[in-house]
Amino acid sequence: MWNFVKYVFIFNSLRNKLLFTYMLIILAFLSVGLFVIDHIGKEMVKQSITREKKDVLQLKENLANYLNRYIDLSTEIFFDKTMMDYLMSYSGNRGESASGFYTILKPTFQKYKNLWPEIDKITVYTNNPTLMSNDDEISYVDPQSTEWPMYQEALKSRGKIKWQLHQNDQGAFKIRLNRALLLDNFEVGVLSIFVDQEQLNGFFKENIEGNEINIFGPKDMVFGSTRPGVLGTNGLHLSDYRSNEHTLRITDEVINKKPVKVISTNMDLGKYSPEQWAIIKIVSNNLIMQEVKVTKQYLIYVFIIVISLVILFSFLIAHHLGGRMRNLSHSMRKLQEGNFSALVIDKNNDEISYLAKSFNKMARRLEVLVRDNYVMNMQQMEMEVQRREAEMNALQSQINPHFLFNTLEAIIWGVHEKKEETAEVIMMLANNFRRILNWKEDFIPLSSELQFIEEYLRIQKFRLEDKLQWTVKVDDSLLSMHIPKMMIQPIIENAINHGIAMKKGNGHLKIAIEKKEGFVLMSISDDGVGINPEKLSEILGLMNDRSMNTSGKHIGMKNVFERMKIYFGDRATIQIYSEAGKGTTVKLSLPDRTIIKSGGVPHVKGSNS
């Protein structure tokens, strides 16, 4: 389990983690919900039993009130002395009894029937043969009458009420109240009040189909029932379930193989009606459960819908978030592979979109940085190559065969004429070559360069003799300044070879190096033949041509220029002034290197020049 959790939390995707969390929440929700549903179900069962109890008690009260109406009515008649007198009267002329009928009996009963229209009939049964009877208000009974047993039974109970369920000729059931009428303890007749039994159905209106309400009169006879066809019988055998007290009794029973709750209560109708009535309600457990089931089902449906929605939404959210995260990580992986264009598109406005935006920003910045770095590297590489090339060119120029040839010629010539001087020149030449070969550093102190130039000039002087004069004027503070090696020599070589050597007569070379406003100005001027304008523009064009493929022409000048560009960029300038026949001046302007120490400029390692 722990492994699973670990697996889920450590190894799985964000989406699955989210889903897992959601599922846990839903699980919790589900179990709480099921508990609640179960609880509601139980509560409903309790409530419906309580409700059934209340119903039965209400029914009992209503029914008692209803029956008491007729008991009260019978009591009123019972104490109606005028009527009792009439019923007791013996008239020799039978026709005289009509008077009492029309003035006492009929109007009294009519009044009651008007008050309670549900009363079907009020009849007084009498054994007085002198009274006229009409089987309506008044009816004569003798031992031959069908009503005789009822009459006798009612008389026996001495004014206490006897209830009957009576079926008339048309088969209709009537609830019948029988009560002996007494006058001074003398029996004068029996009063019967007939009420439509259907009136009791009014009490069953609220009953739900499937439940059963039975109203039992005396002797367990069914006076009212929701069950058809049991009226007037006592075959329901429900009296076993009858409560002995007047409080409610609830028992669980099985009737017709069905579990039911039997709620029963006895009903007392007061002192005039000692016979016990009872109400027995049979509530089907299934019906209660059905109700509960329906409610539960309803709740479960709601639950399922809610949970499905939650699951759906969590899936959507997880999918949505996971997708976006996957997008992001995918882009990151691409970025890792160097694809800067793999930007995340996320139009949302939340933490992830913030992340995505940040990622995009970062990628863009990274791209810029990488590109800058790369280009710079490339530039450096390129510069190094150019430097090497220039150096090689310089070297090449240094071992210019002309120079060597000329020098060697002069030396040969000198060997014959001035032996001492020649030896010195050879030594200087050797020095010169050694120096070139030994200068491993790109930068050399100005003093070294000047020394190299001195020796070079003296070698040239040896060759050109008096034709070459020079002056060097250097600001002493600049002697220790480091400058790129062989920076000045090629210019001087040009000045001698193309200026002074070509001139008839002596030539003079001036070298001046001075500080001026943060720059070091080097001026090399000769009074040689000069350069004609076409040539000058050709040279200047060559200088600006970045390509290195020069065919040996003006290599020296270009070399100087290229290297100045490499080391100082735009801060170094080279200017050439020339006038044909008058001479040429080359002016180099460098930043004041005295401020920068040697090595302040990156070197290219691994060069073995």
Partner: protein
């Protein structure tokens, strides 16, 4: 989504179209005859009756046809059978009465209460058929107080034909006549002798004793089986409580007269000979009817309509010989029977109350019933269903005839003809034969038809007396009262006169049985005097005075000069 919306609106439009189609359809097709109510379908009118018969509008094809013709449907309620006067009082006091009411004996209560609409203008504007059938008799419907018409009588009595049957008369079982060789009784003594002779021959009915003379005197039974018989045997028309001295139109309470006393003497004799049921004086109509239906009652003076149901029951119970022949009867020879002479006066009918929502529609419906077409519908029923046209004459279908004769409920449920509670304003009368403008009878009541409809026993008895219908037994040529029937005179409610007559009614119910049950002549006189004394205590002379004045007023209103 857009597609869905348009689909929805499409269905809505279609629904609306369908609805529109539905709502327009009642306008065309079958249009009810009453133009004003067309397009709305029938209007339902609450329609109360103090009659006791119960029928349902929807169960009767004839009433449905009436609705189709007039656009009016009655929501029928019946109040009769209990204490009608009290019920009417409660209804008026509580304002709980229907739109149309047939108040019968309670008519005057409703008129006096002012809850009825005067019909004069409605009849003038919307009742051409009512005007035609009633003619000048409309005047006789007018309330004497304000001269307005508040009800349309059940039927106009201005075209008396031959009567088909008696209204109330002596009734004697066929078997009595049969066993005695078809004698024709003339006086009460003849009847008494016949009954005794018969009982000597036939001692009982399946072991049960005969009730030789039928009588029931609870409620209105007193009127038709005690009071009215006394008037008829005395040669009077039915003036109910009133005895009118035609020399001066003074009214006397009939029960105070010697005519009444003489009749009671005869009843007393019958009672003491055991010819009258001991309990008759408190018997109610239902019990009396069931007694008659048992076949044990040999003779009586009663409404022929009161024994109509028992006769049908007897025929159903296979005792057709226990049905009754009708005879005129008088106290002693020399008195001329006028029991079936009709006088034209009206005291009740159908009224429109102030609850009516559409009085015009109602009067139009009543007018249709009063038309000759309506008369045919109400009396003959629906052509092809209840009658056919044979040789240009309406002929009732034999199965309808048979059912009408044998099934007491058939005519009632069908609301057909004379058993219908809608027989007012018609050309025919229950008891007479009237021809319509088309030359044919207004109802199936024609001599031959009636004879043919009769069962074998009836035919046999009628054959013996040489008649084709019971009406022939009676001479209707007697002079009618020029004031109409006295009982149709309205007496103001709660007037001293009304109070007195109500009390008197209670007194006669209570006291008369003792007179009839007197054991000897001495006791009879005693009881009679007691009765007179009791009547005096009711101040019945107040009523007598009011009635006398009312008769004079009516004569003035009807322009009878004397």
């Amino acid at each position: 989504m857009r597609k869905k919306v348009s689909m929805l609106s499409m269905t809505t439009v279609m629904c609306m179209l369908v609805l529109a189609g539905c709502s327009t359809s009642p306008g065309d097709g079958k249009t009810p005859a009453a133009a004003d109510v067309s397009g709305k379908g029938p209007i339902t009118v609450t329609w109360g009756s103090f009659k006791t018969k119960v029928q349902k509008w929807d169960e009767s094809p004839i009433l449905q046809a009436l609705t189709e013709k007039t656009g009016v449907k009655g929501d029928l309620q019946f109040y009769g059978g209990g204490d009608d006067a009290q019920k009417a009082g409660v209804m008026i006091a509580g304002g709980d009465y229907p739109e149309v009411i047939e108040a019968t004996l309670q008519q005057q209560k409703f008129v006096d209460a002012g809850v009825l609409l005067p019909l004069d203008d409605l009849i003038e504007k919307h009742g051409p058929n009512i005007k035609k059938v009633w003619g000048d008799s409309l005047n006789k419907l007018r309330n004497p107080k304000d001269g307005k018409i508040y009800f349309i009588g059940e039927k106009p009595r201005n075209r008396q034909g031959e009567i088909i049957d008696a209204n109330q008369s002596l009734l004697i079982q066929y078997d009595v006549l049969d066993k005695l060789g078809y004698p024709k009784p003339k006086t009460l003594d003849d009847v008494e002798k016949m009954l005794k002779d018969y009982m000597a021959k036939v001692p009982d009915l399946n072991g049960k004793p005969w009730v030789p003379w039928g009588l029931w005197s609870d409620t209105w039974g007193y009127s038709i089986t005690v009071n009215n018989p006394a008037q008829w045997v005395s040669g009077f028309m039915d003036d109910s409580e009133a005895f009118v001295d035609t020399s001066n139109y003074r009214v006397k309470y009939f029960n105070k007269t010697d005519h009444f006393k003489d009749y009671l003497k005869w009843l007393n004799k019958m009672y003491n000979e055991g010819m009258i049921d001991k309990n008759a004086f408190i018997t109610k109509n239902d019990q009396f009817k069931s007694l008659v239906s048992s076949g044990r009652v040999l003779a009586m003076i009663d409404g022929t309509w009161d024994v109509a149901d028992p006769e049908k029951a007897l025929r159903k119970a296979n005792m057709p010989e226990r049905a009754y022949a009708r005879f005129p009867i008088v106290m002693k020879e020399g008195i001329k029977d006028r029991s079936q002479v009709d006088a034209e006066s009206y005291s009740w009918g159908v009224s429109i109350t102030n609850k009516a929502k559409d009085p015009v529609a109602i009067i139009k419906m009543l007018d249709y019933v009063a038309s000759q077409e309506g008369t045919v519908l109400m009396n003959w029923g629906i052509k092809g269903t209840h009658y056919d046209i044979i040789d240009g004459k309406r002929v009732q279908k034999p199965e309808v005839t048979a059912k009408l004769r044998d099934d007491p409920d058939y005519a009632l449920k069908l609301a057909l003809g004379t058993s219908s509670d809608f027989n007012w304003g018609q050309y025919s009368s229950e008891f007479s034969m009237v021809k319509l403008d088309d030359g044919d009878y207004a109802s199936p009541n024609s001599a031959d038809a009636i004879y043919n409809q009769s069962d074998e026993w009836t035919k046999k008895v009628m054959d013996k007396y040489g008649i084709k219908y019971w009406g022939k037994m009676f001479d209707v040529s007697g002079k009618p009262n020029d004031y109409g029937f006295a009982w149709t005179l309205p007496i103001p409610q709660n007037s001293p006169a009304q109070l007195a007559v109500t009390k008197a009614d209670e007194v006669r119910h209570s006291a008369v049985p003792a007179i009839i049950a007197s054991k000897n002549a001495e006791q009879f006189e005693q009881n009679w005097n007691f009765f007179m004394k009791k009547l005096d205590e009711t101040k019945i002379e107040e009523w007598e005075k009011t009635m006398s004045e009312a008769i004079k007023e009516r004569l003035k209103l009807w322009k009878v000069s004397k």
